[in-house]
Amino acid sequence: MTMLALQAKDLVVGARIDGEMVPAIRALSFDLEPGKILGLVGESGAGKSMVGRAIAQLLPAGFAITSGSLLFEGEDLVRMAPGARRALLGRAIAFIPQAPMTSLNPVRTIGAQFDEHLARLGERSRGARRDRAVAMLAAARLPRAAELLTQYPHQLSGGMCQRVLIAMAFSSNPRLVIADEPTTALDVTMHPPILALIADMQRQHGTAVIFITHDLRLAAQLCDQVTVMYAGRAVESGPARAVLSTPAHPYTRCLQLANPSLRAERRALYVMPDQMPSLRQLKNLSGCHFAPRCPLAAEECRRGEPPDTAVAAHHHVACIRAAATRTIAAVAGDSVAAKASERPLLQVEGLQKHYDVGGALFAGARNVAAVKQATFSIAANEFVALVGESGSGKSTIAKMLVGLEQPSAGKILLDGEDLTEPSRRRRARNAASLQMVFQDPQSALNPRRRVASIVTQAMEAGSRHASWDERLARTGELLAEVGLSTDFAARLPGQLSGGQRQRINIARALCTLPKILVADEIVSGLDVSIQAQLLNLLARLRAELGFAMLFISHDLSVVRHLCSRVLVMYGGEIVEAGAVEKVFADPQHAHTRALLSSVPPDEPEAAWPPLQGSAN
């Protein structure tokens, strides 16, 4: 038997909470063979990134490995002398970071940073270092590698930075690479090529990889083994395809059902109630940690932690009711409204936005077009998606629609009335008929206002003076609509979770019962189970309140789930528009095709072209 690249044995990472040690990772064990990819899958707070940090011994303050071992080729990283461990890290064990732009030093050239890295690896000759850097960058499929060495990180795109970091990580011929969400910070169209590159490099160098991700479908395509984590515990582990095609743990199954599909029949999303327990809540939780959200939970689940049992060869699950997992199913039904009305509610004609960039005292300003040309319409009660990668002008259109930016040219007609004329009356009208839900709920909620004051903020605008009783009554209605109890009225935004904040964000926009909501990436920062809650909420609110929505997103499976029509933006122009089913089935523009191929297939057995292509 060959020696394992990495073996975790009952690893426990504790966090100090109120003077008590709470396990953030509980009894984690896995075996990683050389040249294989292990996927650690879970939502935020599951403890998956903590594993990578434990290997690097870079745990955040207050966290510590309390017991267990991490054997790298038979040697325990936990008990190793710091000097010996340092000799391994960055050489035999390399890392690919989550945020490529901030992982490179902005004031030094790529060449200088690569050279420094190679010098640390022990390469004496400057010329040999340069040749090796060029060779590695070329292997990472970066064009004009030699030229790249003289450039600074800000001159490269995020995807190119990540390629540079991957080239650096593999330049030491590491035997283990830890990739922590390496594509999350990048545009969706960059995901397939970066993943293909990691898979390629891994194959060429025979490296073992720990791939940390929140995307189950992606893990199934890329990894050999998958470990699904929930609240610090590995709830299911096994061969990647087996785990996805026959999930044994209810959480894995629920997660799968909560993710909208890009290709399969449209169905309602399965919604897990609540959210993952925080470390503070874990302290007082006994029994199976998933039990409070589990559809199969029985009395005995709350009594003790379930043991690890094998459901098939190498396929383990920590659940006593695993046999019933198959029975969990989402309610059938279509979340897209049957038929929107024909009459256009909002018409946008030839909308343009130019910015003057630069323009110092004596230098002439450069005129840059953020939106070159946009013409579209939205009917009453219709959900229209606006998709495209960052910088394509999506957000600029949103801002012009609600009046945060003035268009350089073009018309915005709401019910036939032009909204581009700035006037006091128009703003008041706007507030009642067009509202925006912001992307980042952290920044969109005033941390000093209580929830009741935030959601009814529209009632204190202008010269209106609603009494506090009226506002509290409206708060009750709005909170009920977004599925929160009235206890939330007195809370501050800092006391809410991300999903709850986004609900408040939506409730505020609904206060004046607008006809159109503009939603800018409102589910993109959220976990799959929270995203499913919000998508179902939006579908229900549309049926109840009958508003239309411009839904800005980069996630095509979410778009397909919620919207009937789609507009694809590329370089400031709408390059493709039409019914979602039609556009997705037969994409005309290259960018639409790129966006579509960035979503991995639902079935683990299905081939995903981006990874297949690289095998040759």
Partner: protein, 285 residues
């Protein structure tokens, strides 16, 4: 805000500073009752008397008398009134002008921001003491003139520091959201931006009070301050300067009073900054 205030009231720095300021403020407010003598009364039979504890001292004048035979303790107490009045009104005045301009500048940006920014640049390029001297020459002496001079010199400090804070706050989506909900610019600034800049504002006021005390002392020292008939610490230092060898106490006592007051305000400002600034409070200093 309420929690931040209660947190700051538990900070030892803030408590000590508030205690010191309360004592000085009490002297200033009830100077007429506390002071043993009228600050202008002369006793030419007892000039340059040392304090009561020194040789030749006398309990009638606990801190001795100056070169004109006036009670030093009484003059110190009445000087506190001058210092506190200047500190309070000058910092409030500078705060009002600076805060309004900072919010307009940071919130609207563009040409308005440029104009106000350049005005502050030009204003700040004058040495502050010289500028206040020129102003005093133009305005004439008197308590209200001193306050006006400090306001006109120091509003820039508020304006520049607050503007950058306003810029940061304005970039938050909740400010844009308020506009979309129909808030006017004025409402948005007062209800969304100002509460967020308030902690910094409070800190700046207490630091500005310390500066105002020093400026008032300087102006009074050179005789361009509150006028000869109003007792002021700077004036006492100027008077005592000529008799420093005969009676060093006359010089040291007003200096000590200024030192105490300025320390108290700086301590308060530092304590408030540590407890009110969310960023500092979160990182556990």
């Amino acid at each position: 805000m309420a929690s931040a205030l209660s947190r700051s009231l538990r900070s030892p720095r803030v408590l000590i500073a508030l205690g010191m300021i309360f004592c000085i403020g009490f002297c200033a407010a009830f100077a007429g009752w506390i002071a043993p003598h009228d600050p202008g009364d002369q006793n030419l039979l007892a000039i340059l008397q040392p304090p009561a504890w020194a040789d030749g001292g006398d309990l009638t004048y606990p801190l001795g008398t100056d070169s004109l035979g006036r009670c030093v303790l009484s003059r110190l107490i009445f000087g506190a009134r001058t210092a506190m009045l200047v500190a309070l009104f000058a910092s409030l005045g500078a705060m009002i002008i600076g805060t309004i301009l900072a919010h307009i500048s940071g919130y609207f940006g563009g040409a308005v921001d440029w104009l106000i920014g350049r005005l502050v640049d030009v204003w700040m390029s004058f040495p502050p003491v010289i500028l206040s001297l020129i102003l005093m020459v133009g305005l004439g002496v008197g308590l209200s003139k001193v306050i006006l001079a400090v306001v006109l010199v120091d509003w820039t400090r508020f304006c520049r520091v607050l503007r950058s804070e306003v810029l940061i706050v304005t970039r938050h989506d909740y400010v844009a959201a308020a506009r979309l909900l129909g808030f006017s610019h004025w409402q948005t600034i007062v209800r969304e931006v100002l509460p967020a800049t308030m902690p910094l504002l409070i800190t700046l006021i207490s630091l500005e009070m310390a500066i105002a005390v020093v400026v008032e002392a300087i102006l009074s020292f050179i005789g361009l301050g509150v006028g000869p008939n109003t007792p002021a610490w700077g004036q006492m230092i100027a008077d005592a300067r000529q008799y420093v060898y005969q009676s060093p106490w006359n010089l040291l006592l007003p200096i000590f009073a200024i030192f105490l007051t300025v320390t108290a305000f700086n301590l308060l400002g530092d304590g408030l900054r540590r407890t009110l600034d969310v960023r500092l409070a979160e990182t556990g200093r």
